[in-house]
């Protein structure tokens, strides 16, 4: 029973991992490209003017950058 369960868990893990792997690779590429693109900005003037638009932009940058 224990060994059988371990084999089933292992098989299920491999199938799920292979299913998610393309998504992970896509996420890594998009994350890397976003990080490179966002790193170009040395000076961001809108950060000096807080407001709903600035909050939204910073939040968008927060979810767009891989941390």
């Amino acid at each position: 029973m224990g060994f059988d369960s371990a084999v089933i868990v292992f098989k299920e893990s491999v199938i799920f991992f292979l299913h998610l792997l393309p998504y992970l690779i896509a996420g890594l590429f998009v994350g890397a490209v976003l990080e490179v693109r966002l790193s170009r900005y040395k000076e961001i003037r809108w950060l000096k003017h807080p407001g709903t638009r600035a909050y939204m932009m910073v939040s968008l940058l927060g979810v767009g950058t891989p941390l």
């Binding site: 369960s5 089933i8 868990v9 299920e12 893990s13 799920f16 991992f17 299913h19 998610l20 792997l21 393309p22 998504y23 992970l24 896509a26 996420g27 890594l28 590429f29 998009v30 994350g31 890397a32 490209v33 976003l34 990080e35 490179v36 966002l38 790193s39 170009r40 900005y41 040395k42 000076e43 961001i44 950060l47 000096k48 807080p50 709903t52 600035a54 909050y55 939204m56 910073v58 939040s59 968008l60 940058l61 927060g62 979810v63 767009g64 950058t65 891989p66 941390l67």
Partner: protein, 169 residues
Amino acid sequence: MIPFLTAGVPWALMMCFLISSPLNSPNTFFLIAGALGYSMAIAQIVAAISLGVASGWVTSLLESKGYLQDQLRTPLSPTSPLPPVSGGDSIPVKSPSSKPEAKTLGRVFWHSLYRAGTRRLVRQLAIFVFVASAIKILVPTAWIASLFGKDQWYSIPLAALLGIPPLRQ
């Protein structure tokens, strides 16, 4: 966040970044899309941005009331350049209008993709997948349904508690 602190970025904007950034990332978006579907991944992005904006409003209100005074901050001068917004490596740029060298872009891209991404995330994904499969097969479905079913008033707070970032690491 340390460059943000030293540059004197307002607290409200810092809180926006602090709240929204750990909640989602490009990797998370695609993994959620793969596991739960794109609608759920988009909903999570919208929720993260909404929470970030709400935290900005609340922090701005607290700041206007004077609750965040006398903090260890360097004042923001009108001409001081702000740091790059990326969470990872920063790229030295000669002037705001100049583009970073291709070599530097390649270095950041490689670091993000290989060191921070592939090395760490593939290992974490393997562990996550194994634990998820073990729970799916070994834990009775009825037990999970009794804890997280629609009829339980505590199902949402319990799920939120389990989702606290330190517990997920």
